[in-house]
Symmetry: C4
């Protein structure tokens, strides 16, 4: 695998900076990116506030262009420094990184059609940049395991809750009727979900005595069954954290292979566990 080291040194250096957080420069890069993402999300949000947009329109526009160009450079560098670019481009983060840049460019192409609603939606795609933050959610492996273990059971539970909502919603539609806001079954089911999950907007509320009685039953039911998913997760989590047969957690570092982009290498790893590429060049 040593012969692969003949590739230009600056590529390896850049790969280490962009994809890894072990070196000081890598850390700086990560923090700059983090600030840029949060700043860009705040920009998208402020742009939607009309009074603000009118006042600071040119400031928002220029800042947006700076962010877009920054993200474009980042995207291009990520493609260049990885040895198998296609794997990165088609990965989840590859798509997210691309979507973070194109909406602004498209806004020039369709500049004449600014009024289109579809374009507004397109521009708002930029909010998905927040998914770039998911990279920093980090190694809560333990929690993820507990959720994965209880996923099937929580699905079954939510499915049962939905069945109950359809039945109770239909009953409430019959009992309350259209004159009290329960105009059709889908709306009644929506109300039932609002009530069972203890959200309780109050935009629709039962008026008749019988309707309020049934609502009380739904609420107490919702209060009682909220215990179920909690019980599942907390038991699974407890089991996951004291299973004696489980191997001790391996210290995984933030390196990623410059060849195949694989992550979660052991701290002591010298070569990529997937493609055999040397990790420390």
């Amino acid at each position: 695998m040593k012969n692969k080291e003949t590739k230009p040194h600056w590529k390896d250096k850049l790969h280490e900076i962009i994809y890894e957080a072990d070196t000081p420069t890598g850390k700086v890069f990560d923090i700059v990116l983090l600030i840029a993402i949060i700043f860009s999300i705040v920009l998208v949000m402020l742009e939607s506030v009309k009074s603000f947009d009118i006042k600071y329109h040119s400031f928002l526009n220029i800042s947006e262009w700076i962010i877009t160009i920054l993200f474009t450079i980042e995207y291009v560098l990520r493609i260049i420094t990885v040895k198998k670019p296609w794997r990165y481009i088609t990965s989840f983060y590859g798509v997210v990184d691309l979507l973070s840049t194109i909406p602004k460019y498209l806004s020039i192409i369709f500049a004449g059609t600014q009024g289109l609603i579809a374009l507004r939606a397109l521009r708002l795609l930029r909010v998905f940049r927040i998914l770039k933050l998911a990279r920093y959610l980090g190694a809560s492996q333990h929690l993820a395991n507990a959720l994965k273990a209880s996923r099937a059971k929580i699905s079954v539970f939510l499915f049962a809750v939905l069945i109950a909502c359809v039945i109770f919603g239909t009953i409430m539609y019959l009992v309350e009727g259209e004159e009290n806001g329960f105009t059709n079954i889908p709306k009644s089911v929506y109300w039932c979900i609002v009530t069972l999950t203890t959200v309780g907007f109050g935009d629709i509320a039962p008026v008749t005595a019988l309707g309020q009685f049934i609502a009380a039953i739904i609420m107490i039911l919702g209060y009682g069954i909220i215990a179920v998913p909690t019980g599942i997760v907390s038991a699974e989590y407890a089991t996951a954290s004291k299973d004696p047969n489980k191997p001790p957690p391996i210290d995984l570092n933030s390196q990623s292979c410059s060849n195949c982009n694989a992550k979660r290498h052991k701290d002591s790893a010298q070569y990529c566990y997937r493609c055999g590429e040397s990790l420390h060049l």
Copy 2:
């Protein structure tokens, strides 16, 4: 029991397709049925949306007839292929399957009286078809055990909550009075349930300072005691999942006896554990 094998082969074949999900044809049947159920529920819901019903009335009517005939065929086949039909007809799913078909037929008989409210209710009975989905909720035996173990304690708890609601409701009726929406005790108790379960519609809300003070106490109480059912379920669930005296879970398959319709046979079972009928004919 071998002499029972002389019954026509097609009945056994059909039984396997309808009642079991082990064979490919059985799986296809299940998926088709699942789609038909969900489609029929969506139909019932859309029918209640007036603007949609006016536009696509004939489409809804024809689709509904197709679904009804499909469910009728399924119901008849289930009766024919089971050796003890009466046991199936009087079972929970037998009743649900029957109720899934008759409302549409009754709508012809009472065609002249279309305006009757009772009939509208009857037509909506079709929503209970969703209970046919319960068949697919599957083997969450573990969860059911935890719920069964904590059922008694949760009942006692909910009973205590109800007592508290009646007392607090009466106090609020006295404090707030009819001019602030607390028109009578049942309504006050309803409000108290809405508050204690943290639903909080806001259709009725305390206005006087004393009323808001008592409401604050009710809310903090509700916030504190929601911990109780959760604690019970999660402890019972944890106990159920690590009891060392518990026998290891037996792999149960989805077969059901063609004679007595018993379910939950062991994977290695050759004969029905209830009536001794051969399972693999």
Copy 3:
């Protein structure tokens, strides 16, 4: 203690019927009492519904008198059959039983002053009859232990929540001000409790951007800290149910001593553990 057996036999018999649920007659007495209590609560509730009260006033009045006389007889019998009546009269249930009867009698004495609000409140005292039901809440000893063990911690927790509510309430009063419904600090604190406990009536809601931002922080805080009491109770409950040093639960029966009214005797007990009175006469 044998010399105490010379007291009239009918008193012992009655004591067994009224205070214990082991004999068939005792069970019948309990069920009749249970129905009478629930019926009387429903009466009090219906009386507050004006339209119902006008229609069925005499029915409500007569039923109420029957219930009151029944409860009076029960109260007198309980005093007669207990050997130490004063201990019963001053006990929690003694007071509840007395309060279940007197409001109706007082309504004759103050008959001329029917219009007094105080009297209405007095009549509603009858709703506390529901506390008579607490007798039937039964032996959820296990749950009570878990609650007792976590009581101190939950108090500390609720105290901390209250401190947070006072501070956040004051901040919201400053930020939103009187024009947006936050008319004074107590009301702001009330709103903060409504929000933190996730009840959310919506009678008061932040209008300014800054107010909504702070509200969002309060909500996420409330969402995060609801985990704390739940975690405490469920851990204490789990500990309580598998402590190996704990003696095995003793089968307690529903007998009560005819001399001192002590309860929770062991099934095999021959004499009262408190006063030595023979239990089976």
Copy 4:
């Protein structure tokens, strides 16, 4: 360290009374302070209720002055009796104690500018006196440990919830639009947090069918994921309470060193663990 005992005896005596709760006088001091704090908080609250402030303005003013002078004396005594006053002044409670006194004094200085909003805010700073109560929250060390252990995981979880809220909020802004109350993205995100945390004010509620459908998804998601922090805390709490490797809890007393103000000395401690000062002079 014995030579330090030459400092005047009354200082040590006062230190014991003010900083410790082991002696009867220390306990009396604590209770008096506790009452004064709660009384002063009630005063601040009542002052904000206009109708009350007009009626009892001079009473409120005089009481406030008494409380302020009391707290000033307490603050001065605390500085005098501690050997390293600077450490106390810059500590959390030192700042809180100072903030409890100054707002009232500042109100004289700026007496002519009574109408200033900033001053009203300043006067309300007095509400932070409630933080003086935190001293009495006491030794819930066990609970604090469980929270500390799960802090990182709950942060990651809340961060993920925030990301979801931003995305769902933007989608709702597009779907519902400005005419239905979702006037801009920050407001939509606020609504999303209100919904996901099951608070549900109802000041903004989806009107379109698609909006209500997405809202239903958000609610069921919120209902499902509330299980996560609860599961974490309760598992960590359970682990913390039965870890066999953990040393048995040391009985910590309420003494504090008169030299460096260090707390949490062992009951058997003779000298301060931080500076070696003798504890019992």
